[in-house]
Point group: C2
Amino acid sequence: MIRVLIAEDQAMVRGALASLLGLEDDIEVVAEVGRGDLVVEAARTARATVALLDIEMPGLDGIAAAARLASELPEVRSLILTTFGRPGFLRRAIESGARGFLLKDAPAEQLADAIREVDAGQRVIDPALAAAAIAEGDSPLTEREHDVLVAAALHATAAEIAAHVHLSEGTVRNYLSGAIRKLGARNRAEALRIAAEKGWL
Amino acid sequence: MIRVLIAEDQAMVRGALASLLGLEDDIEVVAEVGRGDLVVEAARTARATVALLDIEMPGLDGIAAAARLASELPEVRSLILTTFGRPGFLRRAIESGARGFLLKDAPAEQLADAIREVDAGQRVIDPALAAAAIAEGDSPLTEREHDVLVAAALHATAAEIAAHVHLSEGTVRNYLSGAIRKLGARNRAEALRIAAEKGWL
DNA sequence: GCGAGGAGATGACGATTGTCATGCCCGATC
DNA sequence: GATCGGGCATGACAATCGTCATCTCCTCGC
């Protein structure tokens, strides 16, 4: 019997996935959580063997949850199930120790098979997405450029960004300028769109 | 027997919802589509009585699909099932003839009951969301301000926006200025965030 | 010790943006 | 037909933004 934990913040989808897996006679859903920071605890007490993790979750995102599982409960295999096929997400997920990466666009029948393969120790990755991730390459952004860009997504003006990342306003503009150039954008709003699309935020 | 059509673009979620509804013995899933523009056709041939519609779909969004159903197949009751509790979405959904509005955050057990109520001719609306929609009021934006804001979300510079909506660059800035003031924002990026949050785009 | 190089800051610049006053055109209303 | 208001445009202005050259620290490697 494969003991599965489901981590997904939308209760309706969580319940629906559980019902989908309930149809399989070699799979048992032993835990359901709606927040990323409850994953490790629930996986331990329910003795899960596979963790099905959404990325967008409150508390802790699915990639970070996979990293914690890998370090604290390495016998639990993580399978990321997410909406967005951002190459950067796939890369970070694999680096975090996830064993599989599945899109919610994939047909429902594929889920149980993917769980079985991950449970058997194999890796499950959408081939097209893997190719895209390799072609995409890594983020060209410096760590500071990345931080400033993230702050720019939350705060409107350069002065606010500067206050939030503890830099001077001019330096913020310098980093933003670098990010804009590297991303081929024409202003910070476009740079944010591009970075978000590629999963580099 | 309640004959349900499921319209949801993410195949995995669509299949999971179908499996969830399959557990109910008075509900039958008679059609599944992944695009909004296939809803009316599928509902007609499958003789559905309730349409479960996601909002974010390619081809035609769920709200527009509900409007088409209401005019072409008025005997089919629409139930919107969506991720975002944006008050503007609820308002537009109801105006489009939808009979229910459910969030994916709601517990899975609620789905079958909501479908039964909608099928029986009742309305199903999350009370908290309804209150928020009433408190929120309607969008304060002019039709032109709305158009320009939408164009601003796609095109980066004022000149590009102007070309896209067939206005002069100065006029575009005037409308953006009005939208920024009405939304309490401090620049166009913040105005876009606020409008998107409230479902006014 | 010393040079290289990265992080951060500064100041200047031109371009873009946000704001405002003003004017024109046109359909609606009285 | 006069008036009003909305849609659209223009021009001017200050503030902000994007870019660049330059400077100071600090750290690392030799």
